[in-house]
Each structure stands twice: as structure tokens, then as C-alpha cells.
Symmetry: C2
Subunit: 217 residues, 2 copies
């Protein structure tokens, strides 16, 4: 008996919504169908809230002109906060990394979002990122957050091949410009088991071993 | 060191979109964040397509006035199709069940969507469903798809407690109205292993054993 799979039996607007949902990351056809049915069952007001939220995010959210963080004010709230120290700039690949770091509540400096990383195989050159704007913030303090001179650049790139490539390039260029460069510590992830750590993690942990502070105990 | 978890560091429109995505079934905070970032990275046109699709589905999709299937035309394409036999009506609990059945391409009759099932504990009475409208289709052929008299009602309810309750109620009421009533076959699911089938499935399979047809072999 011939079964016609995946044939659309939905009204066109439902099929179109399922289609659009399927484009979202991590959403398969089944999930998209469930989501579309949820919208169908929701009140008109609820559906309009979702529709409007999607539209607003594109229309109201921009990149900060100083640090390229996502923002709906210009410059962003971090760049203009009196509680932040604009002499420290933490460089990240993308805004999501910034968000993760902010959620710890530990860092009090400002940021610079590269909007990517150097990836010669993927065709991403330094010129495709916001690196020139970072150098500009460094060389012209009036272009930095709060008009403050940068004293330290902290590299917060992903600990992988492209992240390291980008980090080495930046460290080299930043050193030429006479600014202190550090990078986020590498070592054992908190809560993990040494027994299951990879060689690379253990090597990082040994090489980067840190002096014990008594108040850590 | 105090970590402030789940604290929002997103611009308000991003936070609002994440929030709205989180309301969708099966979407947690992490997935919603990834989806929101996808929208942020998408072109304005792509985002507007999604926004519009959500709005359209609420504004253009309604229930068919005959069978309560989802539709953007009135009556729905199945009720008006010359390829369908409106003397056979397959009763399902919800539009999603109809879609699953349609995807097999096997059934050529029409449908009736109850928009739920009888569930005394959950407070769903026969009057909360579209049962009266099914009886009306039966008693007044001019109210049925294509104005045709119904000869057979096939119960396509879920094989569980509430489905069976609904089925027994309908079978009883339909018999009073002198129409043939059948239900979807129960038995071993195709592709399964007898060894792992539950007692209830095996009992159904034994009780409902079917005569072998030579062209099945």
C-alpha cells in the first residue's frame, strides 16, 4: 500500500508556520508541528505577542557602536555603566559569550565583541571582524567606553583551534601597541573529575597551576 | 563568590523574545536563547517571514464548519473534495490525529474532529465537544459534507481510558440513530516485536484476529 509521507495536509498558513519554525536551530519537523499547533490553540493576543517579539528583536536590537554587544540603547548599558571599569576590555567572539560571562557577575570591566573568529579555512580574515575597532578603542581613548584609556585586554576566546589562532594574532598585535594582554585561565572545569579530564585539559591545568591562596581553603 | 544565575543581561526585546519562545512546547530556556540568536542573525526579511507566519496562522486558519478540521477555506478541502466519500465519517479527537491519518493516504472518506474527548475527571462532558454537530450531520444529510447521507461512522479515538470512554458513549448514541459504527483496528503495531508487546496489545491482537487474505502473503 503506497504511503505518501511528508505530504502536506495542513492549510497553507499552518504549513508556512511549520516551515518557518523548522528553520530555527534545533527544531525538527515534529517539534515545529507541535509549536505550530500550540500557536493555533493560543489566544490571538498570545500569538500576536510572539509575532511582535520576533519583529521587535530585529527592529530594536542593534550592535553597540563601541563594543558590538547587542543593545537597544546606544552605546550599550555596559559601556555607559558607572559601575564598570573601562580600562579593562574583555575580548569575546560573540555576544552569547559575553552573556555567559555576565551571568557569573564576576567581571567588572567592559567588553569587545569580535563578531566571529579568525578562520582561514572558513574564509574569515582579521578584516572581517571588529579587530580594527578594538585597536581604535586602544589608540584613541576617546573612542573607548567612557573615554577611558585601556590598560588591560583580556582574551576570552574559545579554547579551540580558531580561538587560539585569533588569540595569538591579537596578542601579537596588542603587544605591539603596548597594552597588557591576559587570557582567561584554562584548567580543570569546576565540578569535574580529574579521572575523566582529557590530556589537553590536564596539560593546561599543570602548565597553568596557580599559587594556593589561604582564603581558598 | 556569589554567582547571579539567570539574571537577564539581554536587551529587553531579546529577553522578551526568549520569553515568548519559552512558552512554546518542548522549548527550554537554552533552546529559546539559541532560537532568539538565530532570529537576531537572520536577515530582516527572514525574521519578518516568521513574524508574519505566526500572525497569519491565527488570523487565517479557522475550524471547518462541517468537520472542525483546521482550514483556511470554508468548508475545508476534505469536505468539498470530489475524491472523498462523505458517506463515511472518521471521528478523531483532534486535528493532529486527522493529519496523521491523512499522511497515510489510505482513507478516502471525510472526518469529524471532536476537539477533545470525554474526560469526567478532567471536567470534559459530551456537551463540551462537537458531538451534537456530528449527530446533526447524521440526522440532516444536508448538513453533512456534500449533502450526502452518512452510512458509516468510524471511531478513530486514542486507545486509552478517555478514548474508550468517548468511543463507548458515541457507539451507543450512534447505534440509537441507526448508523453503522466501526472503530480503527487494534493489534500489533507494524514493525514491532511480539516478544516486547504489552499484555493489552497482545489481548487486542488475539481478540481482533483477522482472516488471512491470500494477497497479504
Amino acid at each position: 500500500m503506497p504511503l505518501r509521507h511528508n505530504q502536506s495536509v495542513y492549510p497553507e498558513p499552518v504549513e508556512r508556520l511549520i516551515d518557518e519554525f523548522t528553520r530555527l536551530p534545533g527544531i525538527g519537523r515534529r517539534s515545529a508541528e507541535r509549536m505550530a499547533f500550540h500557536v493555533l490553540k493560543a489566544t490571538e493576543e498570545e500569538a500576536m505577542r510572539l509575532s511582535q517579539a520576533v519583529a521587535d528583536v530585529k527592529q530594536k536590537v542593534r550592535c553597540c557602536s563601541i563594543c558590538f554587544n547587542l543593545t537597544d540603547v546606544e552605546p550599550c548599558a555596559i559601556c555607559t555603566s558607572p559601575q564598570r571599569d573601562p580600562s579593562k576590555v574583555l575580548v569575546v567572539e560573540q555576544a552569547r559569550d559575553l552573556i555567559s560571562l555576565e551571568q557569573t557577575g564576576v567581571y567588572k570591566g567592559v567588553y569587545h565583541v569580535l563578531t566571529g573568529r579568525i578562520d582561514p579555512l572558513g574564509g574569515v580574515e582579521p578584516g572581517d571582524l571588529t579587530i580594527a575597532r578594538l585597536f581604535d578603542r586602544l589608540e584613541n581613548p576617546e573612542h573607548n567606553s567612557g573615554g577611558v584609556k585601556i590598560q588591560e585586554v583580556i582574551l576570552g576566546l574559545n579554547p579551540d583551534l580558531e580561538g587560539d589562532t585569533t588569540g595569538l594574532y591579537l596578542a601579537d598585535e596588542l603587544a605591539k601597541r603596548g597594552v597588557g594582554v591576559t587570557r582567561l585561565a584554562r584548567g580543570l572545569p569546576a565540578g569535574s573529575h580529574l579521572e575523566f579530564a582529557s590530556k589537553a585539559v590536564l596539560a593546561d591545568a599543570i602548565e597553568g597551576r596557580q599559587a594556593m591562596k589561604l582564603d581558598d581553603v
